[in-house]
Symmetry: C2
Subunit: 130 residues, 2 copies
DNA sequence: AATGATATACGAAAAGTTTCGTAAATGCAA
DNA sequence: TTGCATTTACGAAACTTTTCGTATATCATT
């Protein structure tokens, strides 16, 4: 059985930082700040990123190694769990809780490749059997 | 060809009001306020709802008929378009733009009935043919 | 017409989120 | 060791969103 994480949901700015850490692994504030600035195509002050990551550490969304002067941050929030929680909230708010409605909308409005469709079909079969 | 609506995206509180209007059709502030209070299981001040709906009218998310003293509000934002826009933003922020990832997550984590699965399969077939 | 209930208008407080500036500490290089 | 660059700490400004209180208008009833 999986333990409940019970972490608070990240805000938008926090989620962006999580995405970077999920992708790159443990990183310094400077690195995260550079990634962010690159993504948004505008400079973000170093201390802005620092402050956010400190807040996130307080919330336990991140942890950090302070052995060296330059702290190294690690995502404590698990990507899958976080996505799942945010998705539920989003579905409730936007599709009145119907994941079905959302899926139809998602499939209908995005370019979906044949391979992706195959994957979905495979998943459906798995669900039908299981 | 469908005209671009170009409406601002609703905030969370605004979205809740839209949901009520989409479902119930043109309504008064009082009605919307009662629905909201019921949903959240706590009283929401009448003027809070009023203020929000006035702001939304200014943003063109709603329009209103002021012929009678009690104004009647109508959702101008179209449900499908709004959901689509919010979904895109959400997918970008949470699933790095991959609707596929989201669909897999949505199907995997929710109870999905056989009928719903059939609908999805039908949709996929339609996409594959079209 | 006076009273009371209910409506709108609207500024501003309250709450939440994001950004920034300054101070103090630390490490490195001359 | 002195000076410079970089880091962390942290309060607070700047914004956004949500909630509320007060003033005023309107309608129905008496």
């Amino acid at each position: 059985m999986s333990k409940k994480s019970n972490l608070p949901q990240p805000t938008n700015a926090e989620l962006e930082i999580l995405q970077i850490l999920w992708k790159a692994g443990p990183s310094t504030v400077r690195f995260v700040n550079e990634q962010l600035s690159e993504q948004q195509e505008k400079e973000i002050r170093y201390t802005t990123t620092l402050k956010l990551m400190q807040i996130m550490t307080e919330k336990k969304l991140l942890s950090r190694n302070t052995d060296t002067r330059t702290h190294v941050y690690l995502a404590e929030a698990v990507q899958g769990d976080t996505q799942k929680a945010l998705l539920k909230k989003f579905v409730d708010a936007t599709f009145q809780g119907s994941a079905m409605n959302l899926v139809m909308q998602a499939l209908g409005n995005h370019e979906t490749s044949q391979q992706e469709l195959d994957e979905i079909k495979a998943l459906i079969e798995k669900i039908e059997k299981g």
